[in-house]
Every structure is written in C-alpha cells, then in structure tokens.
Amino acid sequence: MFEALREALIEEMKLDPTVCVMGEDVGHYGGSYKVTKGLAEMFGDLRVLDTPIAENSFTGMGIGAAMKGLRPVVEGMNMGFLLLAYNQISNNCGMLHYTSGGQFKIPVVIRGPGGVGRQLGAEHSQRLESYFQSIPGLQMVACSTPYNAKGLMKAAIRSENPVVLFEHVLLYNMKEKIPDEEYICCLEEAEMVRPGEHVTILTYSRMRYHVMQAAKTLVNKGYDPEVIDIRSLKPFDLHTIGNSIKKTHRVLIVEECMRTGGIGASLRSAIIDNFWDYLDAPIMCLSSQDVPTPYAATLEDATVVQPAQIVAAVEQICQ
C-alpha cells in the first residue's frame, strides 16, 4: 500500500506543481513508512519539505500556504502526533473558509498512519477519526487497500476541501495488483466489498480484514453477510448504506475507534435517523474498548475487535 500512496503522490506532483509535501522525515529519510521515498530527489527539498518537530506550526504553515495557492500534503508521522496540531486543524483548517466568507480555500491533505499496531504502546496506537469528526469543514476518508489508497490520495489532493486521510500502520505492506491507467476514487462514496442478503456489515480501515475473515467463517455456517467499507468517515455515504439496509434489514458496525463518541456512534445515529423503518433488529456496534491501548499482546488483542466477536455478533443479530 505504501507504494500505491507513493505513486499517487508522484503522479499528482508531476501533474500540478503547486502540490507539495511537508512533514517530519519525509524528505531525505524517505518517510517513516516509505510513502515519500525518493520524492525529495525527484522534486527537491522545498517541494518535499523536512520540517522540524513542530506539528502545530507546520500544519498551520501548510494551511497558510494553501490559502496562498499551494496544495500541501501534510504528513503526521503518526496520526497521534496530530493531536498537537489540533488547534490548527480545528480552528484554521476547518474554519477559515467559512469565517473568511468563502474568500480563502484550504485544499490541504492531512495524512498519516494511525490505528492499533503490533504492541506500539498507547500513544502510538490512537484513532483520531473520532476526535476530528465534529470539526465542521473537514472531510475524512480512510483507505484500506492499495487500490483505494491510491484513488483516495489522488482525490484528496485534487479536492478543494481540506481532507484528512487515515492510513493504518498494519496495512502498509498489503499487496494488490492495481490498474496502470489513471483512476480516482470518489471521496464521498462507500465501497461494496461483498454483496449479501442477511446482514449489512459496515466497517473501515483495518477492521475490513477482520470482517472478511469472519465472513469466511459465517459463509461456512450458512450466513450471507453484505460487507461495505464505508471509506468516507465524514460525510457518510447514506445512499450505499441505505440501499443495503433496505435489502438486509440488519446492521452491524465494526470499527477500530473507541466506543465512546466514535465513528460507529455517529453512524448509528445517522442510520436511525434515516432508515429506522427498515430495521428488523437493533443496530449492533463493535468498537475498541475505551482503554489506552496496552502494550501486552494479549491485552492489546482484547482491546480491538476480533473476528470471533464479529461472528458471534452476526449470529446474534440474525436470530
């Protein structure tokens, strides 16, 4: 996946000279996860800017540069570090287009790896999608395959809106054959992963793989789950989601962010608001525990949703 993201960056930077990258160790080091490897040699030190360790300020710098016509891609070495940039992301990134009465647009892409990895400890295992979701003026997408990573990165760079692109630490080495021709994924659309009839499973990012693993078990047990990768965390693609609910009448949400105030919580409300009449069972939501991610492997596994829990949940819904 890191190569797909890299390809997207290279293609967009070749197409549009105002696209630039800024972040810690993105230049000479090639990026902590190799997403920007070789870019500094290709495009120069100013276009692929190695910043000092000052997230709030260099994110703000990206925003100021965007107001003056550039299209920066700001990398948080780990999504958790962007907590330090929260001031700029909320107050300036999300708000300036509005408070300026539409005079300045902020076409930044803020991206980085988040999610629970392999025993990285609590602070390196954060899921910021729930923290950012209330910020007005921001779009959020989460990629999960090399295909949609490249497509979403290109779409995010081309978008006039500020977009936060959530990548996952454990998915960078995913491999997939992707088209040679240029393609873009729609920022606002969800992705149908596996059509089915019995239950709608809504998920995103790494949990997609846990869901698909659970789906194999479920199919053997005779269930037919429909799996949708929502991809767009804000706004939700209520059309794809709605059509699925109208077909299956049962919903299970599987997510990696915390239970409290998470994406699942908002998704649940949106579904109840719009599709209440189509539901035959209460919406179930499986999220990570409200716990700082422990270091110990057994505890870390217990923090996130595992395929066995997904299977059990589907069995419960479909009773």
């Binding site: 709030n56 300020s57 260099f58 003056k68 300036n92 287009h97 809106n161 606002e188 939700f236």
Partner: protein, 481 residues
C-alpha cells in the same frame, strides 16, 4: 542624527556567518568546560552554521528620552500625509466602534487598537498589494491600513451580509483576499504559522514555480502581542522562518498587557527582541509610538525579506489606550492619585471661562491669550505629576497621532488646516461606513451552509443517491453529514 540614537545603518549591518577561521567571542568568566563550550572557544569549527545576529534596541529602551524624541527620519510631504490620514482613520474608526458597541449595533468581543496606530501604519503602508498581513483579534486597523474599505469592515462588525466576510467572521476574523489580509484570529499565536505558510508560499512561487515579482519576494508581516511571545507557536515559527529564510517579519506589538496579565509578570526575559538572535535572525526594538521610526525599521526589515535574506523580529513598544476589549473593566491599569493637578486644572479652566464670558472687545484677546498660556502651563504641570504616577498618561503624552501632527507642522510639511481637512474627510468616511452598515441587510438563512466547504460535495451523498448540495435549498437546511 546623533551617534547614539537608533539608526537604520546599525540595523543594516549584515548577519555575519562564523566560518572555521574566525574566532568565537570569549565566553564569560566561569564558563563551563563542556565539549560544546570548548567548541565555541575553538571558533565554531564544529558549528559551521552558527551565526551572529543583531539585537538592536531603540533609544526609548535605553531610557534616552531626549534622543528618542529627537531627529526623526526624513519623510516627504505626501508620505507624511498618507501616514497621518491612515492613523487618523484607525483612531476615528475605533472610537466609532466603541460608540456603536455601546449602542447595541456591534456584539461579542471587540478589541480596539487606540494608541497602537503607529505600528499598523508604519509597517503596512510600506507594503504592496501582493504582500500579506496576518493579524490577531485586534485587527480592525490592520484591515483598514491594508486597504479594506471602512464600510466593509464596519458592515462585518455589524454582522451584515455586505461585510468583508459576509458577516460570518466578525470582529476577530477579518479577511480580505484582494487585499491579502489573511486574518483575523481569535486564539493568540494561531496566525503566526499561517503567516509563515504565506511566506513559504512566496518563496515556493519564486523557487519552484519560477514566478518572480519585479521587486523580489512577496513579503508577509505577522502582527501579534507580548502575550503571544510566550506561546510555542511563536518560537516554532521563528525557527522555521529562519531555517528556510522565509520572507516574513514578526512584529510584536508589545503593549505591556495581555488582558490583565502584565508582560513583566508573565515573561522571564521581558526583552522580546533579544529572542530573535537566539534563532539567528536580527531582533530590533523600536519606539512603537513614533510612526516615522517604525517606518524606518519596517523599510529595512521588508527590504531585507524581499531580497531573500530572511526574517526579522521587530518589537514595537506601544500601548493601548483602551482596555483589552470593550468588555474589559480595565481596573489593573488605574491612573495614579491625581486629585490635586486635575482639580487645579479644572479650577483654572473654570476661571478662564468665567472671565472670558464677561469681557468684550480688544481686552478679551489679550486676556484670552495669557489665560490660555496659564492654563496650558497648569496642564503641563499636571501631566508631569501624572507621568510620574501613571502609565496611561505617560503613553497618552506620546500619542502617535499628536506626535506626527506636531512633526508635520514643525517641519512645514503641511498646515494645520490641511490636517484638519484630512480629519474631517476621515470623519465623513467613517460616518458613511456606519450608514452603509446600518442600511445593509442581515445575512439570510440561505447563507448558512454556503461556505462550509469550498466544494459543497463535502456534505456528502444523501439517502436518495444525490449529493446533498444538488438540492438548491440545501444551504438553508441542517448541517448534518
């Protein structure tokens, strides 16, 4: 100019790189023998990037009041009148804001700039249209100096749809794309990274996009206060700006107070200009109540930035005559005990009034003149007493507008009546701005969601499969995604 007064020439001295051959300056007695200290003594051979940057202080700081008040840098008649008009516009506008606020036309937090006009005028009047200004919540006058029409600013303050931000920003969020005013920020320090970004974009345009202006790089000026200089974003941006030699000037409007927190109680080393050389950029202190001195420093800093020599930190000693905001009771800056001089002055004015109303003809002129002199003397005496006890009066005596007026008249650059006609013109402009704002419509409900996203597809796809923004009435609806 006297040798000891602050001169531009001092400031022009180039930033000297310390190469391997040069010797480092001697360390103070008791210096440590750490490897870093030893390397410093060896002459910086291990630290090729060490530079000596200047810290230049003004005569005001040195306590040299005579020099501070003495010879001002030369200025032409046109320039002087432009500066005067701009400062008067700032003052009259802010006074009108206070009136309008107490009449219930303006709401929320309104922060007025009275007293600090020299800083805004001194810097911004030297900029081009393409140069950027980034400010704080005390931004009305920065907007006016940059060229945003008074009526747009007033309408914005009234919350009307004709305001520069369509009524969506308010007092603390003034923006203008055509004038390159990049805000207007409510949280302190927030604008400094944005200014750094604008400067970065200027450098990027020049080096990557190969779009160069005839004068050099487009410059960005970031204004902020003394309180901000203890904030992380300030230091982080000083570092980045110097690292990449960005065309930016960091202007500290040190008015000694952050709401009720005295600068001296909040800052370990209150001399802010000295923090510039710590990052390798020149740090300059200037008398922020003297527009001509500010302008001299501004010229040097802006020209430097345009040439690509990098940022400058300028600390302007200034003062706000009003409270932090219109809601601030301003109790910590109480004037000193002044009962005696004030009552004496009042008594003398009363005598003058009573006598003059009972005189007639030629006698009146003679007695009028001597009474006027007597009263002026008493006023001066009371000022001197007050100066010793009271910060507010000390700075009121250094009102930048009065100072420039005095200078213009003494140097015969214009007559008193010409200046009065400028003042009258400005009063008309501000009155017209109020009328315009009053007459303007409030924003309609349909404006609510228009500017949330530059691309309204960001509101997403609704259950019916269409993008929400395809519904023409969606902007007045509910912002849900």
């Amino acid at each position: 100019m006297a040798a000891t007064s602050f001169t531009a020439a001092k400031f022009l001295a180039p930033v000297a790189a310390r190469s391997g051959g040069e010797r480092a300056p001697p360390l103070p007695a008791g210096a440590s023998s750490s490897s870093f200290a030893r390397a410093m003594r060896r002459g910086g051979a291990h630290h090729p990037r060490l530079r000596t940057a200047l810290a230049v202080s003004s005569d005001v700081l040195a306590g040299n009041k005579a020099q501070a008040a003495a010879a001002n840098p030369a200025v032409t008649r046109e320039e002087a009148l432009e500066l005067y008009e701009d400062m008067v516009l700032g003052r009259v506008f802010e006074d009108m804001c206070a009136q309008m606020y107490y009449r219930g036309k303006m709401f929320g937090f309104v922060h007025l700039y009275n007293g600090q006009e020299a800083v805004s005028t001194g810097f911004i009047k030297y900029l081009n249209q393409a140069d950027c200004v980034v400010s704080t919540y005390r931004d009305h006058v920065h907007a006016l100096s940059k060229g945003v029409p008074a009526r747009s600013v007033m309408a914005e303050l009234f919350g009307k749809a004709t305001g520069c931000c369509r009524g969506q920003g308010g007092s603390m969020h003034m923006f203008s794309a055509p004038h390159n005013l990049l805000g207007g920020f409510a949280f302190i320090g927030e604008g400094i990274p944005v200014a750094t970004g604008a400067a970065f974009a200027a450098k990027y345009r020049h080096e990557v996009l190969k779009q160069s202006g005839p004068d050099g790089l487009d410059v960005t000026v970031a204004f902020f206060g003394d309180g901000t200089c203890n904030n992380g974003q300030f230091f982080e941006c000083l570092n980045m700006a110097q690292l990449w030699k960005l065309p930016i000037i960091f202007v500290v409007e040190n008015n000694l107070w952050a709401i009720g927190m005295s600068h001296l109680r909040a800052t370990s080393d209150p001399e802010i200009f000295k923090k510039g050389p710590a990052f390798g950029m020149p740090g300059v202190h200037v008398d922020g109540m003297d527009v001509l001195k500010v302008r001299e420093v501004a010229k040097e800093a802006i020209d430097r930035a345009r040439r690509g020599e990098g940022p400058t930190l300028v600390e302007c000693e200034t003062y706000r005559f009003r409270g932090h905001s219109l809601a601030d009771p301003d109790e910590l800056r109480k004037p000193g005990k002044d009962y005696f001089p004030v009552s004496f002055y009042f008594f003398a004015s009363l005598v003058k009034f009573l006598v003059l109303t009972r005189l007639s003809g030629e006698m009146e002129n003679g007695i009028k003149a001597s009474l006027a002199k007597f009263v002026a003397m008493l006023k001066m005496a009371s000022n001197i007493v007050l100066m010793k006890t009271d910060e507010k009066s000390h700075y009121a005596a250094r009102d930048p507008i009065t100072a420039l007026k005095k200078y213009i008249i003494e140097e015969n650059l214009a007559t008193e009546s010409e200046l009065k006609s400028i003042e009258k013109k400005i009063e008309d402009v501000v009155e017209e701005a109020v009328e315009f704002a009053d007459a303007s419509p409030h924003p309609p409900r349909s404006q609510l969601l228009e500017n949330v996203f530059a691309d309204p597809k960001g509101f997403g796809i609704g259950p019916d499969g269409k993008y929400r923004c395809e519904d023409p009435k969606f902007t007045q609806g509910t912002a849900q995604v």
